[in-house]
Structure formats: structure tokens, C-alpha cells
Amino acid sequence: MRRLPVYLLLDTSGSMRGEPIESVKMGLQMLLASLRQDPFALESVYLCIITFDRDVRVLIPLEGLEHFQIPEIQTPESGPTHLGAALKLLCERVDNEVRKNTIDQKGDWRPLLFLMTDGSPSDIQQYRKMIPEIKNRNFATIVACAAGTKAREEYLLELTDRQSVVSLDTTDATSFRQFFKWVSASISTGNMSMGATGQIVLPPPPPEVHHVAV
């Protein structure tokens, strides 16, 4: 059966420790609850959560909504934010996991990527090196979220287009709840039939989630 692979890349660096990461977890709960009411998502959405701080890890490898359970998310005390390494790991996962159309099997829907960071990449060179690689992986949408005041949107604008970069004023529960609600709505439009290079049109974001200004 055709799956809709959704990759969530979450910043778990030291600055996310405490309330911010708890808010993210609550947001994830919301995302799951919301997707579980969407009959299409319930059948087809497969989520993968990758976290990045000093280390990069696949917290949950691609798993269907039916059995998905939110794991513990650890944050170190402090340390760098290896977003570049995260993108590299993501490319590896996508290459290995996302099924393409072959004469023997129907491929998955084009994968979706949602990235959240509250800072900027420490490994900038690696980050920039990975950007074209990510673009080559044919994501139907790449949404990058700059959460909180320390997040630097300009790096995210290198990765994806302006309509797909959003920012949150704070890293509190309300902001993340709205963000993940929007993620859920975006996922629900991800199954459209389209030509090979078409981009999906994201639904308008809620008030707490701003499109970045020029």
C-alpha cells in the first residue's frame, strides 16, 4: 500500500531543554490526535522523527500512525546544533526507506519534510552542502520553522522557499500547538495527484505561525 512518508526534524539542542521540548511533545500529541481523525492519514501516513543537537538520531524510524507512539525526547544541557548532519542522515533515510514506483510495486507518495529549529546550524558548511541533496530528494514540501527569538530564518530560507518558512514568536505550548496543527493540515493535502514537478499548495497558517517577511 502506498504510504505518505512524513519526516519531522526536531531541534533538541540545549536551548530546547525544559519547557520548549515539553511543548514540542505536546504539539506532537496534538499532531497525532489530529491525524488520527483524518481517514486518509490514518491509513497512509508514516512518520519518522529525527532529532538533532550535538548528536543526530532517528528517534522513531518510519512508522505508521496506527502503531505510532511518541518517545521520550532527550535534550543535552548545552552544545551545538548539528542541523547539517541531520540533513545528511535524513538523505540516507529517504534513500533507504521511501519506495519508488517500480514495475513491481506502487511507490510511496512524495515525502514531506517538516523542520523545526530554535537557533541556527552550528555546522554551516555541512548544512550548505546538504541543501542541494535535500532538494534532490523530491520532497513534496519542505517546511522550515524558526521557533523563538534566537532562531535565524535566513538559514532556513536557503533550504526552502519563502512560503514554506514560518516562524514562531515563542517556544511555548501555544505556539507549538498551532504549528503542529498546521503541520497536520499540510499533511492532509499531501496526497494530491500531481505532475512530476508540481509543488503542493500549503494551507494558510494560523496567526501564531507567521510567514517570514522579506
Binding site: 500500500m1 481517514p39 548528536d55 511507490g107
Partner: protein
């Protein structure tokens, strides 16, 4: 096994009287090895807990040889058969007190292995997270878990084992515990670094313990034993708070099962008593977390489409033409469109020309194109108009002669090419006329052409003396095949597909109008007879065939035909089965909720 508990055990043994040691010595050799195995296991688990920063060590007071009641270590000894190692063979719970240990050792007939000591308040880790294979690290820094795993096999672990044997030797041969021994065990405590999976989540925890998810209507069965450490010595266990879940708990098998009735997040409780708790009414309690998914079938809504829309068309449609053979078609809006009150983007066309031509078209409007419902409608009717006007001229007596020749000798390449060219001129001409019609409409509405994007399959069929001629033009996905039951299926082309689901080509794309491209899309067959010629959009081919390879597989077509004719008695060839065909189009196929259209000549 908790490191603290183990060191407590060592210390206890060190402080034990000669009597105890006399008995212990009786189990020397094998038991010492067993202890070494435990020691290794214990090191590893302890290290995991340290890494998680949740090292709640249990302090035991060695001098008094008593244990703090709130943080008591329970030493569990599995009495096992030498040949079988089973978690389920937990038989005893021991308190780390002298008498019980002695009794236990005296009782045991076979080898004993201390498998686990479970502290009362152990930190929790979610079931899934503790599997190291889930944690793929790509860090450049040294604190990766792979490094830690390496450390387990390095010399320091071996060193600990050596130290342990030293410790055991010393304690064995000196009847009173010495300060030396204490120091050594204290030292080994601090220098361990290794890592391994800790699969069992301890029962007592501060966060809700996750049960596996369930789904409404799907049988659920889970053995709660899996949540417990194997040797936690639980003798009685209850699960409460299951009202409204539809699940029940079997007290004797510890199985949680049933058929969930309602979706939602539930928080049942687990109550348990271990053997060493003497008061039979005293239970410890933990909260469980249970998520029940809704039945996907129940979540699909069916909202009517907007009748005021200028491009509105009915959510379902069907037609039948009965001649010598039966030509029937039906088209149904898919669940995903119905769920949002959107339009049916598929369409079809059927016609019969008096000189014996059966004409059929199916089209699938692109989901991402705003007006594709109109696009599919335009192409289906326009193609039929064009064919009606031009067929007689194109497929004249010369054509028939060539067909007859070809039917006698299919190796004749020249004849084949002549026929192919004729078919190409007509069918590509029809498709092109349809394309131009869309262009006109787009232009009138000042809307980009791609807003009307649609696939298209056209088929022309006629019976001659030699048999049947079937010609087709095909752009996009879906499929058309000449099907002969139990014999073969001849596809009249190949589906267009990209690397990913939902990618295909449309009649509105410039690349499909390159000369070489168009030619490839026109095919024909000459065949004695057939069971049916079937045209389908991908709403049906995805569900019934799944892959391009399967589309060529006669068995899959047989299955499809049997399934179809069970609901729609097509063999009867009377004109009354549109309703049944529409009904059949409602079949349930998880993940396949697209519009469905089928046209059949039978």
C-alpha cells in the same frame, strides 16, 4: 541487575556467617560462573541507567545487613533447568536477607542464575526507545552510543570480571567482611562504562506506561507480562479502568484483550502485588496509557459537491448501450473527494456507430488541477464527436482489407505499419482535437491550460469477419486490456508513471505531443474473440493491480473479472446493470480512495 544490589549481595556474602558460606560453597564452580554472567549483565544495565542520568542507586547498610524498606532490593533467583532459560520460570522472590537466601540455596536442585534485581523505584524508559537499533547516530563527537557499545567489549569489562573473581575469591575464603573488599567493590562501581538494551520497563514508574495501540473493531490482545521485568516476582496483577474501552483483563493469564469499541486515549491502571508483600490487600499502582484508533471506514464523510459551480457534474454517472455486445460504463466519485465535498474528476464516454463501431473513453482529471473535472469531461465527449465524424473515412474498405491480410499473417511488417499509421492518424487526431478543445476553454476562461489536466484512454472496437479489431490511444495512468478469461490479456499500451505515487502524464503536457511520443501511444490488436475489453482509471488499477507488472498478469485480471461479475452479471448481456456496476465501484480498498471509472465491452 542493579549494581548496588549486586554489591549488596557481595557484601552480604562477605558478612555472612560460616554456615551460609558452607552452603554457598556447595554450589561453587557453576554458580560462580553464573554470578560472573550476572555481573556482566548487571554492569551493562547499570551503565545504561547511568547514561540516562537516572541512576537511582539503592543504598544498603552493610553493617546492619538490613535494607531500607522503601528502596529495598529484591534478589530474584530463577530456578532454571540447565537447558532452558526462560523468563517465565520465575519462581522465587528473595529478600536480600540471610535466612531467605540460605533457604533458597538449599532448596535449589539445579543451577541457579541470578537474573535480575529490581529496585522499587527504577527510572523508566519507553518501550521502543530502549532498542538501540532504533538509535542511529551520525554524530562526529565521541559520545555516540556506538562508542559506548565498543567499550563494553574492551578491556575494562574484562578487568571488572577479573576484579569480581578476586572479590569472590577473597570473600569466599575469608569469613568476615573486610574493608578491603568493600573498597574494591566500590571502585568497580565507578569505573564501568558500557551499554546494552534494557528491554523490560520496570513496573513502577512516574510516567504512564504505554500499551500498544489498538483500532476500533480490530481484535486486541496483549500479554501484560511483557510490561514487567521477568523476575519482579509479581504474583497478582489487575488492570482497571477498562470500562468503555471494550477490552477486558484475564486475571489468570494476564492477557488484556477484546475488541475496542470507541476511539480515544484511555488511562487504565495496573495494580500489582509481589510475593514479598505479605499483606494480600496491598497493591502498588501504575498508570497505563492506551490509544485506540478510529476505524478508518467510519471516518470517511460523504459531502455533496457544490451544485452552483459552473463546472458541476454529478458525483456518479453511468451508461449502457446494448447492441450485439454490451457496452457499459460507470464512474464514481472517490472517498477522498467525497470526504471534502469535492467533485468527481473522472469521466467517461460511450458510443456506438451504426456500421458496428463500439467507442469508449475514460479520463482521470488531475487532483491538483482546479478544473480537471471539466478537462476530463471535455476530452471524453470531444473524442467521441471527432471519431463519429472521421471514422468512416479513415477506416474504409481498404482498411478492412489490410486488417484481414494482417489477421492471416501478423508477421507482415509492412501491413502492420500501414494499419498502424491509419489508426494513429485517426486516434491521435481525436486526442489532439480534444486537446485543442481544452485549450479553447482555458483561453475563454483566461486560465492556464494545466488547470484542466487530465489523462485519457480511447478505444475503438469492431467485429469483422476475421475477428475483432481493437485500437487505442493512451496517455496517463489507468489501463486498457483485451481480456480473455483463463487465457491471456493484451494491454494496449503502458501506464505513464513517475517515481512517486500520483505522478503521471496528462494530455495537457507538451511532451506528450512530440511526434515520437504520440505514435507510441497508439496501439491496435487483431484478435479472434475475447471475454471483455476493459478500460479503467487508476482508481481501479491501483486497487486491483497495485503494480505495473501486475497489470500484465492474467491471474490478476481473472480475479478482477470474477470479483466484478459476482456483483454485476455481465454475461447476461442485458441493459439493466448500471446500478450494480456503480455499487461495485464502492469497494473498500485501504489507501485507495480515488475516483473510479470503468468501461467494459463484453
Amino acid at each position: 541487575m542493579e549494581r548496588k544490589q549486586f554489591s549488596a549481595l557481595i557484601e552480604f556474602m562477605a558478612n555472612s556467617t560460616d554456615d551460609v558460606w558452607a552452603n554457598f560453597n556447595n554450589f561453587a564452580g557453576v554458580e560462580i560462573n553464573a554470578l560472573l554472567v550476572c555481573w556482566q549483565k548487571f554492569q551493562v544495565e547499570k551503565l545504561l541507567m547511568q547514561e540516562q542520568g537516572e541512576n537511582k542507586m539503592v543504598r544498603t547498610d552493610n553493617k546492619n545487613n538490613t535494607n531500607n524498606t522503601t528502596t529495598a532490593a529484591r534478589v530474584n533467583i530463577d530456578i532454571i533447568n540447565q537447558n532452558t532459560l526462560g523468563e517465565k520460570e520465575v519462581e522465587n522472590i528473595l529478600q536480600a536477607d540471610e535466612i531467605a537466601l540460605v533457604e533458597e540455596i538449599q532448596k535449589s536442585q539445579s543451577s541457579t542464575i541470578i537474573t535480575e534485581i529490581v529496585p522499587v523505584s527504577e527510572p523508566t524508559s519507553p518501550l521502543k526507545n530502549s532498542d538501540p537499533t532504533n538509535q542511529v547516530t551520525a554524530s562526529n563527537n565521541s559520545s555516540s552510543q556506538e562508542d559506548l557499545t565498543d567499550k563494553l567489549t574492551n578491556s575494562s569489562a574484562k578487568k571488572e570480571n577479573a576484579e569480581l573473581s578476586e572479590v569472590l575469591k577473597e570473600t569466599k575464603y575469608s569469613s568476615a567482611g573486610t574493608d578491603n573488599n568493600k573498597t574494591e567493590t566500590e571502585q568497580t562501581k565507578d569505573s564501568i562504562r558500557a551499554q546494552a538494551p534494557s528491554p523490560k520497563k520496570p513496573l513502577v514508574s512516574s510516567q504512564p506506561i504505554l500499551l500498544p495501540n489498538g483500532t476500533v473493531g480490530k481484535p486486541y490482545k496483549f500479554n501484560v507480562l511483557k510490561l514487567c521485568s521477568s523476575s519482579s516476582g509479581i504474583v497478582e496483577l489487575h488492570v482497571e479502568g477498562l470500562e468503555s474501552t471494550g477490552l477486558h483483563f484475564e486475571a489468570d493469564t494476564w492477557i488484556l484483550e477484546g475488541i475496542p469499541e470507541k476511539p480515544g486515549d484511555f488511562s487504565p491502571s495496573i495494580l500489582y502485588r509481589s510475593k514479598r508483600q505479605n499483606d494480600p490487600s496491598s497493591f502498588a499502582k501504575s498508570t497505563l496509557s492506551l490509544t485506540i484508533n478510529a476505524d478508518p471506514k467510519s471516518l470517511w464523510k460523504d459531502l455533496p459537491s457544490d451544485k452552483t459551480d459552473p463546472y458541476w457534474k454529478p458525483d456518479s454517472d453511468s451508461k449502457v448501450l446494448l447492441q450485439k455486445r454490451l457496452l457499459i460504463a460507470a464512474s464514481q466519485r472517490g472517498r477522498s473527494h467525497a470526504h471534502e465535498g469535492k467533485f468527481r474528476d473522472d469521466d467517461f464516454g460511450l458510443d456506438y456507430l451504426n456500421d458496428g463501431w463500439y467507442l469508449a473513453t475514460v479520463a482521470d482529471g488531475a487532483g491538483s488541477s482546479k478544473f480537471s473535472r471539466k478537462g476530463s469531461k471535455i476530452v471524453c465527449s470531444c473524442v467521441l464527436d471527432y471519431l463519429k465524424q472521421n471514422m468512416g473515412v479513415a477506416f474504409d474498405t481498404d482498411f478492412e482489407i489490410n486488417l484481414t491480410k494482417y489477421s492471416c499473417n501478423k508477421e507482415n511488417i509492412t501491413i502492420k505499419k500501414t494499419i498502424q499509421d491509419k489508426v494513429y492518424t485517426l486516434l491521435a487526431g481525436a486526442a489532439h482535437a480534444a486537446f485543442k478543445k481544452i485549450q479553447e476553454e482555458a483561453s475563454i476562461q483566461s486560465v492556464p491550460l494545466k488547470d484542466y489536466a487530465t489523462t485519457l484512454i480511447v478505444s475503438v472496437m469492431r467485429q469483422y469477419e476475421f475477428g475483432w479489431f481493437v485500437g487505442a490511444y493512451w496517455v496517463g495512468d489507468g489501463g486498457i486490456g483485451i481480456y480473455s478469461r483463463d487465457s491471456d490479456v493484451r494491454l494496449l499500451g503502458e501506464p505513464d508513471g513517475g517515481e512517486f505515487a500520483g505522478q503521471t502524464r496528462f494530455i495537457t503536457m507538451p511532451e506528450v505531443w512530440e511526434a515520437s511520443e504520440i505514435y507510441k501511444r497508439v496501439r491496435f490488436e487483431v484478435i479472434d474473440d475475447f471475454t471483455a475489453v476493459i478500460l479503467m482509471t487508476d482508481g481501479i488499477t491501483d486497487a486491483k493491480f497495485e503494480s505495473e507488472n501486475n497489470l500484465k498478469n492474467i491471474e490478476k485480471w481473472d480475479i478482477l473479472w470474477d470479483d466484478l461479475t459476482r456483483t454485476v452479471p455481465l454475461a447476461q448481456r442485458d441493459g439493466s446493470h448500471e446500478k450494480e456496476l456503480l455499487q461495485w465501484l464502492n469497494f473498500w480498498s485501504p489507501g485507495n480512495h480515488d475516483d473510479r471509472t470503468i468501461a467494459i465491452l463484453v
